[in-house]
Chain length 376, copies 2
Amino acid sequence: MTDRIREFLKTRREDGPCVVVDLDVVRANYAAFARALPDTRVFYAVKANPDAAILKALAELGSCFDTASTGEIEMALAAGAGPERISFGNTIKKERDIERAYKMGVRLFAVDCYEEVEKIARVAPGAKVFCRILCDGAGAEWPLSRKFGCVPEMAADVLEHAHRLGLAAYGVSFHVGSQQKNVHAWDQALASAAGIFRECAERGIGLSMVNLGGGFPTKYLQDVPSATAYGEAIFDALRRHFGNAIPETIMEPGRGMVGNAGLIETEVVLISKKSETDTMRWVFLDIGKFGGLAETMDEAIRYPLRTPRDGDDTAPCVLAGPTCDSADVLYEKTPVELPVSLAIGDKILIEACGAYTTTYSAVAFNGFPPLKSYVI
Amino acid sequence: MTDRIREFLKTRREDGPCVVVDLDVVRANYAAFARALPDTRVFYAVKANPDAAILKALAELGSCFDTASTGEIEMALAAGAGPERISFGNTIKKERDIERAYKMGVRLFAVDCYEEVEKIARVAPGAKVFCRILCDGAGAEWPLSRKFGCVPEMAADVLEHAHRLGLAAYGVSFHVGSQQKNVHAWDQALASAAGIFRECAERGIGLSMVNLGGGFPTKYLQDVPSATAYGEAIFDALRRHFGNAIPETIMEPGRGMVGNAGLIETEVVLISKKSETDTMRWVFLDIGKFGGLAETMDEAIRYPLRTPRDGDDTAPCVLAGPTCDSADVLYEKTPVELPVSLAIGDKILIEACGAYTTTYSAVAFNGFPPLKSYVI
């Protein structure tokens, strides 16, 4: 909670939940990343929060942009970033979207298989490609599935295929898992990357770049290491595996860039019990899983909550959203402690909601409008 | 797949996934429900698919509407239903939304606790309330959580509270679980409802109505019982538990009304393998969990798939969506069988997608637009 957000919420008159993001915090986060790894270019992961004001502020600071679709490429361009500052980082792209991106000037593309290389070779001649490899994600609170990346053993073949088709085999990428709290998680992936660099070199292909991905955490309930701690651990690992030939590096913070910059204001709609003898209260908010809090799926991300009654005695509650969908329960397996004095109509602040909230919001589920967003 | 949908898709030129709903199927479903339980009023669950053309077609047939929000109430009114045909069926309502609904003429409200009764008594004097009770949902493919309803033992107290506050204690509701394939699932809940009727009668309160809820299934991969079979089993249970004093009944089909009326057309964006030796293909579509297929969560709903290569040899595939979100995987624990000849660019038809697709769609996740919908 910043003073600027506090002042904003005091004067807000509209009904319904909203997220408020403080650009000063985003700018401070950018500076911390830039300081932590001074030789690494920052590609902000637009999907975390594509608000135009956030993209513009980051573009002004010199940020590059990691994009998932032509829609996001257009947003980054509109924010003032030239196409040379944009990576089309989704490994799953329609050929006509690759072509559109190429026509907009984008020259850097992610791949993780032969088929994607072939699409790019057909419609984006000469473009740079980096191959994403699988990574185990141990230590991450939101470990990634096997959806993106090939096994490291296949990467040199994919890159060689690109090289033979006239593309620039540019480098290797990986993702150590979202909300990664182990600063040493990059070590094993960098060892794999260095191996792929060596194998490509033996085939006469000089790779240039390692994409360190994202995974940098936001503070939810527990403390997280500083950007500096990540920077030191990553730089150590780069030196260990690449020696004196440290490659060009880029990173793709999303959650780490905007997560702690925003919060959601929500209202308590109902507090009730399921039976006369129940000790557990059910607290229903005017936002839930389909209104922007999708990352509570499996209770993965546990957001800090602030109420106007903090300091009063607390008791455990099930927390749920306002829709007629029975899956719209936020925390039940591990209930949340909330003041016993909490009342219907109270406003609750959900902290660290700057990332992965607005765009996850359903378009009109149950007739509720999507989450309102203010960037100040 | 109907002839009308086939013709429509032949002439469609736009890019991107879409859902197409055939109103003739919706009308036939309405007729089947009306025939199966001729004395039961049908309240279509608007949340299943709130498309204006669907609401208008159902309003013309005489349907009533179960709504989850003031937004849905406005949609039902716009479709031509008078407020006497609208139930505000969400048990979680802001007091000012109850007031808005009351001002729009709505007089029927769901409750499951004392606190909600008190809100209604304050701003909707004299309204009818029905109390939702918990139900175990055995036999449902999408069993409901404990989010809605109180234990049956509490219902008479909640209804008596409403009565004392000047509301009309009107009846009891329950939900046997979504995609409920056991036609006898209503029996136990109706036994509880009859018990609540008796207990209220002893307190001098005459209840009038049982809301049978939804749960009526759509055919996905497996056959489901007919509307007639549900009608007979429910009518038998009503007679068994209420004898000659069968109450007024309403039902709230959503999935059962529109699920089989629509399908999604999607495009294969990529087919790849994670390693040279993998036998499992990954098939990526241009729609996923955040684009409308949210009900694949935990692989709960398994949609039938049709490809232009059906009949060729098949092999198991992991099926995933197009976003940079690693949770956007549709079927992996139980892979899907797809033709080995399937190619990038092929169109796949996902059947039985008329319900719970369009409105679950994220507003702009990863820069992808929400699911396009055509009702023909």
